[in-house]
């Protein structure tokens, strides 16, 4: 009967793990799509404003295509099994952001405003393109040089120190740059200003995941039950109190509501994911509410923002904060459902920070509700892919890290979009990939690179098992 193998192999489904597809071709197709859309938008803006296709169209399209192509080739070579959606989504958002910044550069109102304030108007779009290229370079560096995200785990406490230093830097006299009400920039002579908080976001996520991975059991299990909530022991509560205090200090000394909210929120999200205890969310919400109320009643800068949020129309005439919020809300309103069309809105009335903090108002006016929802869904998809990566990751550090990064990303979008729409008090934060701001673009490209690296590790099929099962012992069933 041994002669049967010939026949039988033909009918055999020798099933191992079905080879997971790398999906790089899907990514490439989506990338092409993601480059074409901003080019279309760019042509549309040019036709609407200047009645002609902008002269830089070819250069812009080729530049964006080149960036996307480099990113794709690097991912194909160094992270072949990474998530297929993250790179196209980030490319599309970055490309659309460039178009919107260029569109606001064309506004005469903003040009005059800049000339009267600084004496000279410099367009932001070329700078932003340069920063996008730098961001992509950092993305490439992360994907190429970080072979395994678990290496970062070794630098848990170092990253804590680095993050704290980065956060404190803007307060150092001579280095800090207090131009726009918040002390979140540092000025490096010859280079320009840098916003260290954006980078601290990523580095703090490393610390949080490394720390929580070790302490999660103590935090989850050693707790007393009180009124239906599991209250942790005092010594386990220490770190969260510390983070809370640090974020409050940032808020007080740097006048930066957004960053402090971001850090504290990210920590609470990661704590919840690590311990699965709802009580942390309740405690976190209570603490942030207490902190916000406390600071809002003392710091004048924050107080003005809160007043502008509560009733922008009462102080519309005499306060810049109220004026901006009011104009932003009117932008969203006049956009309606389908928008006024690219280049045909009046969102430049917002004036200062129209292309950074308030860039989403331009989206609201010119693309309408449909466009706003589309863009928000693009962000939502990035977050979904991040959380999906966390679910797929096999190591606890990678899980927490991916959750932390996508949670921070989500919080940042919520804080910015909620701020310009008047849902929450406005905080000076940048819309990732969209808003003009070098640090933000560069840091967020690094964030995407890290997520790609984790997802590559998570989705890569497990290496083939030992080649010869004949040599292995059969396990004996014991009754």
């Amino acid at each position: 009967m041994s002669s049967t193998t010939n026949t039988s192999t033909q009918h055999t489904s020798t099933i191992g793990a079905i080879g997971a597809p790398s999906r790089r071709n899907t990514e490439l197709a989506l990338l092409v799509f993601a480059v074409v859309i901003p080019v279309f938008a760019y042509a549309n803006v040019g036709l609407a404003i200047n009645d002609q296709v902008p002269t830089g169209l070819l250069g812009y399209g080729l530049g964006l295509g080149l960036l996307a192509g480099i990113g794709h080739i690097v991912v194909r070579k160094f992270a072949a099994y990474a998530d297929p959606l993250l790179l196209p989504l980030a490319t599309l958002l970055n490309g659309l952001g460039l178009v919107f910044i260029w569109r606001l550069d064309q506004s005469e109102r903003l040009q005059n405003l800049a000339e009267s304030a600084y004496g000279v108007f410099t367009p932001s779009a070329p700078k932003q393109l340069l920063f996008s290229a730098l961001g992509l370079a950092l993305f490439v560096a992360v994907v190429v040089f970080l072979k395994d995200h678990r290496i970062l785990q070794r630098y848990t406490y170092i990253s804590m120190a680095v993050a704290l230093v980065l956060l404190v830097l803007p307060l150092v006299p001579g280095l800090g740059d207090d131009t726009f009400g918040a002390k979140i920039w540092i000025r490096i002579p010859g280079v320009g200003t840098i916003q260290p908080g954006e980078f601290a976001k990523i580095i703090l996520a490393i610390f949080f995941s490394g720390y929580l991975m070790v302490k999660r059991d103590a935090l989850a299990l050693a707790s007393r039950r009180f009124m239906g909530l599991y209250l942790p022991r005092g010594r386990d509560l220490g770190p969260i109190i510390t983070i809370w205090a640090v974020s409050l200090l940032i808020l007080i000394f740097e006048n930066d509501l957004g960053t402090s909210l971001l850090f504290f929120g990210m920590f609470v999200i990661m704590l919840y994911v690590a311990t699965e205890r709802t009580s942390w969310i309740v405690i976190g919400l209570l603490m942030s509410a207490a902190g916000a109320v406390g600071v809002a009643s003392f710091a004048g800068h924050v107080q003005a923002r809160v007043n502008a949020w509560l009733d922008p129309w009462s102080c519309y005439e005499n306060s810049d904060a109220c004026y901006q919020i009011g104009q932003s809300i009117m932008s969203f309103g006049s956009g309606g459902v389908l928008g006024t069309g690219l280049g045909q809105g009046n969102s430049d009335l917002i004036g200062f920070a129209a292309n950074s903090d308030f860039i989403f108002s331009t989206v609201g006016e010119e693309l309408g509700l449909a466009g706003v929802m589309g863009i928000l869904l693009l962000y939502g998809l990035i977050i979904e892919r991040g959380v999906r990566t966390a679910l797929a990751a096999r190591d606890p550090f990678g899980k927490l890290f991916a959750v932390g990064l996508s949670g921070a990303f989500a919080l940042q979008i919520f804080v910015v979009v909620g701020g310009v729409m008047g849902l929450i008090p406005l905080t000076g934060m940048t819309m990732p990939f969209f808003a003009a701001g070098g640090s933000s673009v560069i840091a967020n490209w690094a964030l995407i690179g890290l997520l790609l690296r984790i997802s590559d590790t998570a989705r890569r099929p497990a290496p083939a098992p030992a080649p010869n099962p004949d040599a292995e012992m059969t396990q004996v069933v014991r009754p």
């Binding site: 049967t4 033909q10 074409v36 859309i37 059969t474």
Partner: protein, 173 residues
């Protein structure tokens, strides 16, 4: 620029933006349901009937095949073997008069990825009348037909579960 062109471009842009979102969601969807169990054996045979015919019958079995197809292929003759539990769940093998060997060895017909299976665990073959027989090949943990451990080659009733380690197979029409 004319009003009409701009309106068309405005709506076109929104449409393209949403198209991208929808395509992206489709990619996620195919990611979620990415694994399919395909019956590779049968499909391959359909695709290459000539080759299948050429390889189908080594000399020893030529005599059996008419018997299997002619004599007892009545209403109750099983036509396929189905793995109903274990890592290979969903695999089917067409029964065409050939012996099917089961075990962890690579040359088995069904290679079991199962710590509780032996290298050459059991075999299933048709006897002269075309009745399918299962025989344990001296395995460590034994082969069970309907909860009874096999000691001798035993005819397989249609649909009776044969348990090998964590894997359960049965014959179906």
């Amino acid at each position: 620029m004319s009003e009409l062109t701009l309106t068309v471009m405005r709506l076109g842009f929104l449409a393209v933006l949403w198209l991208f979102v929808i395509v992206a969601v489709q990619v996620i969807r195919s990611d979620l349901f990415g694994t399919r169990v395909t019956q590779r054996g049968s499909r391959r045979e359909n695709a290459r009937p000539q080759q299948a015919a050429r390889q189908a019958a080594p000399p020893q079995q030529r005599g059996q095949q008419p018997a299997a197809s002619g004599g007892r292929r009545g209403r109750n003759a099983p036509t396929k073997l189905v793995v109903s539990e274990g890592t290979l769940t969903g695999t089917t093998v067409a029964l065409q008069g050939q012996t099917i060997t089961l075990g962890r060895a690579h040359d088995s017909t069904i290679v079991l990825d199962d710590d509780y299976a032996s290298s050459r665990h059991a075999r299933i073959y048709p006897d002269r009348d075309g009745q399918w027989i299962v025989e344990d090949l001296g395995s460590t943990n034994g082969t069970y037909l309907d909860r009874n451990r096999l000691t001798t080659p035993t005819p397989i009733p249609l649909g009776a579960p044969i348990r090998i380690g964590k894997t359960v197979i049965e014959l179906r029409k």
